[in-house]
Amino acid sequence: MHEVSIALNLLEIITAQCRKEGYSRIDAVRIKIGRASGIMPDALAFAFEATKGDTIAGNALLEIEEVPLTGNCRDCGAVFTTEAEYVLACPECASQSFLMTAGRELDIIDMEVS
C-alpha cells in the first residue's frame, strides 16, 4: 500500500551511494522483497518506474527477488517454508504460534553503475 514511499527511499539510497562511489549512472538495481513484507512487487516496480524520472537512475532496471516466508513452530518445532504471502498456522501441526524467520525483507542487494 505504501510502495511509492518505498520506491522513493530506494532511489534516495542508491543515487547517494552511486555518487559517493564516484559513478554517474545507475543501470540496474537488485532488491529482495519478502512475501510477508506487505509490499507487492508489481506495485513497487510500477512506483519505481513512475518516480525514477530524471534521476541518475532514470534508465535503471529494477530486478526483484522474492523471498519466501519461512518459520519455526513454537509447538511442534517444525521448520517450514511456504510460497504463501501469510501463514496463519504451522503447516505441520496447525498451531498458530510460530516465529517467522524470513519473509519480511525489504533490502537492496547491489546495483550496476557506470
Binding site: 500500500m1 527511499n9 551511494q17 496463519l88 498458530q96 537492496i108
Partner: protein, 215 residues
C-alpha cells in the same frame, strides 16, 4: 561495474527513528504509537484518558491525511498537541515526527501518544521512535481481524478492544479475538473498554501509569 549496497530500504527511516528515540529518552518521555483502522476510536480513547484527572502529563501528535478535527478535540482537554497532515500518505514516518518535536514540551511530559493514520496495514511497517506500539480494535470491525491483519497484532505490545458496550447488538465472538490475537502474539496485553460508557478506562489508565514509570 557492480556495487554492493546491502542496505535495508527503510534504513533512512529507521535511523531517524533511532534519533527520535534518543531525544525521547533524554526528555524522559514514554512514547506510544497508537494504531487502528479509521473510526475505531483512537481519538475517543485519548479524550477519555485525558478526561480522567490523573497526575499523568500526556502530549499528543495527531496524524491524519487531512484536517485538524482530532487535534482540536484533544486540545480542548488541555493536552499539548501537534497535528501532522500527511497529505495522502497512509502512515506516519520517523521524519514527519522528527520535524514536529520542537513544537512539544517533551521535558514536561510523562507520555507522548502518536496517533497514527487510521489504517491496519502500513503504520505497522514504519518505526517512528516509539517505546511501544498499541493497537486499538473496535469490536464492530469483527472477530476475523487478527487473522486478516496479523502484522499489526504481532507488532503491538497491547491491544485495546473498544466499543464493548455494543457486544450485545452484534455477533462478535470476543473469545475468538482474544484467542487469535494471543496466538499471533503470546505476550500481548489486552484491554476491553468502551469509550462511550467509560467502562474499562481505569484499567487502561492504571497500565499507562505503570509503563510510564519505566522511563
Amino acid at each position: 561495474m557492480k556495487v554492493k549496497v546491502a542496505t535495508k530500504i527503510l534504513e533512512a527511516n529507521d535511523r531517524i527513528a533511532v534519533e527520535n528515540r534518543r531525544l525521547f529518552d533524554i526528555a524522559g518521555v514514554f512514547v506510544i504509537n497508537l494504531m487502528s483502522a479509521p473510526g475505531a476510536g483512537k481519538t475517543s480513547l485519548l479524550e477519555k484518558t485525558l478526561e480522567q484527572k490523573t497526575e499523568l502529563k500526556i502530549g499528543v501528535i495527531e496524524g491524519d491525511i487531512a484536517g485538524t478535527d482530532d487535534a482540536e478535540r484533544v486540545e480542548r482537554l488541555g493536552a499539548p498537541v501537534v497535528q501532522i497532515n500527511t497529505g495522502g500518505a497512509c502512515h506516519l514516518d520517523a521524519n514527519m515526527i522528527y520535524e514536529v518535536l520542537g513544537e512539544l514540551p517533551l521535558d514536561t511530559l510523562d507520555i507522548l501518544v502518536i496517533e497514527n493514520v487510521g489504517n491496519l496495514v502500513c503504520p505497522a511497517e514504519f518505526k517512528v521512535g516509539e517505546n511501544m506500539k498499541v493497537m486499538l480494535l473496535s469490536i464492530t470491525e469483527g472477530h476475523d481481524k487478527p487473522l486478516k491483519y496479523p502484522l499489526m497484532f504481532q507488532e503491538s505490545s497491547a491491544l485495546v478492544l473498544n466499543k464493548i458496550d455494543l457486544v450485545p447488538y452484534t455477533n462478535v465472538d470476543m473469545e475468538k479475538i482474544r484467542k487469535d490475537a494471543l496466538s499471533l502474539n503470546p505476550g500481548l496485553k489486552i484491554f476491553e473498554v468502551s469509550c462511550r460508557t467509560g467502562e474499562g478506562i481505569s484499567e487502561w489508565i492504571a497500565w499507562l501509569k505503570e509503563i510510564s514509570k519505566k522511563t
